[in-house]
């Protein structure tokens, strides 16, 4: 009974205290695509992704209703750092959807001029506003509308103390007339002013440095991954030591009279909790100001398949040569670090010659027929303007129309034998990292899908008579980038190559930049004129050391730019559902394809190859 009353009270008071407009709520995913284009067109850094931010404490004065309800402590404001532009996950602070949408675009416009962090937030915000309004005069009307809608929603002057009133008036003046408040005006009031939605965050949380959370540690929790979080917010976190197992230790140390609040970190070892209900965990994550994360040294999963250590040389695949050194691009220093990565070409030790798997025979026969039409053997082309032989049928038609008094426009009376030669060669680079160990459906893993695709691709290209090569790559830090040679350009496709395809297995991580540079070097030595570099991947470039996030993407992009300069045509085929966040930046928006269902990969790969090569011309 008490609980029920408590719930009613909670609902009533929260609704009474709320100052937002839920019917005018606008979510970020709805506008994210267009916002990205807008941000980049305004001059924003093209390498940033747009992501939702978490709410932060603002510590300003709250109305008594808010204090009674216990809400209104947090606010979502916008900010940016070197990787991401953070925008509120949803906006409902203004009375209409149009206004909330305009607010999103205004924040993106503000952020596009650069990352201004300074001590004088008031002055910087005004200057950024002025700069944006001068550069884009069409925004002036929108800005005025937003200010006019925003000012009535700010705390009323009657409820504030003298110092706070002065502070609030300054803010209002800075909003209505940006630039009118001089630099160096600091607030004297005890509390910060109420949050200003029209400006960027005054003190954004610093980016959490990812200390290389092991992909492998979470691979065992494959079930958990499936319950994907609907909103992937960035949350504040801190790294702490893993609690020791000694029971009873935490409570003994604390003084009994100190009451700790929710957000304080208590060293309770919760790793043994068997409760798989994660919806509660999500709610708790939302409410916590700051989450303490520790990395468990032991994996809780039962699958011991994952092993960070490299296999011993005797059990590993054969290394073909001394390591080849490749540079790597460091975007923060804007320079190429020479001889940074070591690449080891390898060949599978346990490959045994084999035949095409049973389930692929039928699709391959159909594809072979389709691809044989592309084959380069010479054919007679009729109806040409000139040629070695007279096309009798065409000549008879021509003569007949002349007799009738018609003058045919063109005299296409000849046949010419032309080899429909395709001066084209392809290198297929397959990502064989640990993420391919994931399951696509009940029977297949990603690695099985990739294996099938390689079979189908090889069969099709052999039928067409095109030159091709296939390599797989995975990496384990910068000095160990493994490049598995499945088929070289000079080798013929036969049962032996099929054996190598059958022997591929999931590797380590994805240091894509080094692999692309090696593939470029291999393709460059080929005599053909048109060179296609096909990259099949299932996720972002990442490796154990700092190769991930923006660093990994920038290095991969540099490798692709270098490949394009050599005259190669890079093209990416991915099954990563989040591909459109980073692939347009890497390959250009026409340089990649996303395959929604991984099982479709074997079917779609040859089709994509066909359309690409037709685009490349004869």
């Amino acid at each position: 009974m008490e609980e029920r009353v408590g719930q009613y009270w909670h609902r009533f008071i929260t609704q009474a205290a709320q100052t937002s407009f839920p019917q005018a709520r606008l979510e970020l995913p709805a506008v994210k695509g267009a916002l990205g284009v807008y941000f980049r067109a305004m001059g924003g850094d093209a390498g940033l992704t747009i992501s939702s931010c978490s709410a932060t404490l603002h510590n300003a004065r709250r109305s008594w209703l808010h204090r009674l309800a216990g809400t209104g402590q947090k606010v979502e404001l916008a900010w940016r750092d070197e990787r991401c532009l953070y925008l509120p996950h949803s906006l409902d602070v203004l009375p209409s959807k149009t206004l909330n949408r305009d607010l999103y675009y205004w924040l993106a416009a503000l952020a596009s001029s650069g990352n201004h962090l300074s001590d004088d937030w008031l002055h910087t915000s005004q200057q950024t506003t002025l700069k944006t309004l001068v550069a884009f005069p069409g925004l002036a009307a929108r800005y005025e509308q937003l200010v006019a809608a925003m000012l009535p929603l700010r705390p009323s002057l009657k409820s504030l103390s003298e110092a706070e009133k002065h502070q609030e008036l300054t803010i209002r003046q800075a909003l209505s007339k940006p630039g009118s408040v001089a630099a160096g005006t600091f607030f004297q009031a005890p509390r910060p002013p109420a949050p200003v939605y029209l400006w960027l965050h005054p003190s954004p949380p610093l980016a959490v440095v990812d200390l290389g959370v092991n992909e492998g540690a979470t691979a065992g929790l494959g079930e958990v991954k499936k319950i994907a979080q609907a909103d992937e917010r960035r949350r504040r976190g801190e790294r702490v030591e893993m609690p020791d197992d000694k029971p009873g230790a935490p409570f003994g140390v604390r003084h009994e009279t100190s009451l700790f609040s929710f957000a304080e970190y208590v060293k309770l070892d919760r790793s043994a909790e068997e409760d798989e209900d994660l919806s509660d965990a999500e709610k708790i994550a939302d409410e916590l100001d700051q989450m303490a994360l520790a990395q468990s040294q032991t994996s809780t999963a039962s699958r011991i398949k994952f092993d960070l250590d490299l296999p011993s040389a005797a059990a590993d695949d054969l290394v073909l040569s001394e390591g080849i050194r490749y540079p790597e691009w460091d975007y923060s220093k804007q320079q190429l670090q020479a001889n940074y990565c070591q690449l080891l070409p390898m060949i599978s030790r346990e490959a045994k010659a084999c035949e095409l798997p049973e389930h692929l025979r039928k699709p391959c026969t159909a594809l072979k027929r389709q691809f044989q039409q592309l084959a380069a053997f010479p054919r007679w082309h009729k109806g040409q303007l000139e040629g070695d032989r007279l096309d009798i049928e065409a000549y008879v038609d021509y003569w007949a129309s002349l007799q009738q008094g018609q003058q045919p426009a063109e005299a296409r009376l000849f046949s010419q034998k032309r080899p429909a030669a395709r001066d084209l060669t392809t290198l297929l680079l397959a990502d064989l990292s640990l993420s391919t160990d994931a399951w696509v459906n009940d029977e297949q893993q990603v690695i099985d899908v990739i294996r099938d695709s390689l079979f189908v691709f090889a069969e099709s290209l052999k039928a067409a008579g095109d030159q091709f090569a296939m390599h797989g790559f995975s990496s384990c830090k910068r000095n160990h980038v493994r490049m598995h040679c499945i088929k070289n350009f000079s080798e013929n496709y036969n049962a032996h190559i099929r054996g190598r395809i059958a022997a591929i297995k999931p590797g380590f991580y994805t240091r894509m930049g080094a692999a692309i540079r090696h593939a470029t070097a291999l393709l460059e030595r080929q005599p053909e004129e048109k060179k296609l570099l096909l990259i099949v991947t299932d996720g972002k470039p990442n490796d154990l050391d700092r190769y991930e996030g923006r660093y990994g993407i920038e290095d991969t992009r540099m490798a692709i730019v270098e490949a394009k300069k050599m005259g190669l045509v890079p093209y990416c085929i991915t099954i990563d559902s989040r591909a459109n966040q980073y692939l347009p930046y890497l390959f250009g928006h026409q340089g990649y394809s996303w395959i929604s269902s991984a099982r479709q990969l074997p079917k779609k790969l040859p089709q994509l190859y066909l359309s690409l090569t037709q685009r490349l011309g004869p």
Partner: protein, 273 residues
Amino acid sequence: MSHHSNLNLVADDRTLKTPYYQPQGNEIALFEHAFRHQLPVLIKGPTGCGKSRFISFMAQRLNLALHTVACHDDLTAPDLVGRHLIGQQQTQWQDGPLTRAVREGGICYLDEVVEARKDTTVVIHPLTDDRRILPIDRTGETLRAPDNFMLVVSYNPGYQNLLKGLKPSTRQRFISITFDYLPADAEAQVVMQESGIDAGKAQQLVSLANALRNLKDQDIEEGASTRLLVYTATLIESGFDPVQACQAGMIEPLSDDTDTLTGLMELVHAVFD
């Protein structure tokens, strides 16, 4: 389809008034020097940045005839040089535009030369070295180019890698000039001149075009060209609403993706009141 229609022949521009051209750098002087010393010229630049306009301007200035050939994938060597036509009673030889230019003199301008096949392009090689001859196997002639003959080719380097390319042996026979979109003030001047629009609106259009060029390769393939700017300005000058004119003239031609179009329309609203 007659093969004549594939080739744009602009026979004699001398009677037309000199077209307006805004210089970017030293290209006018360079072209004149190349003409006087009988050197061929290669012009490269993005679409709609003034390449063809420059050629017609120079043709007027140097008082030369201009023979333009729009190159495409089906263009063969006989299309350029000439072929025998089977007529009623006999076969007769018909000159191609290249041969006609060599016989009569003037500028022969091969537009988008990378679109033509490689074996077609090598036909022009003898004209580009100091011999300046055009051998015609079919008739057995060897024509010498007169002093007032000049060979000019152009292409868009952005598309070269994906589709076609010029062989190094062809590229190295030309003096090359790179064209790009003009700096903002000069481009506004061009837009004002071509469409008659006022300076304020021209500046706004140019700032919008420069914002769109930031998106090259990532969200759209190529930024807005000067030509699109002139079209849009013409629409605005004839009384059309500026935002709608930008939508039809500059945004819709660039992309088909809904998200991109929405974002770009917001940009138009940000530039125009």
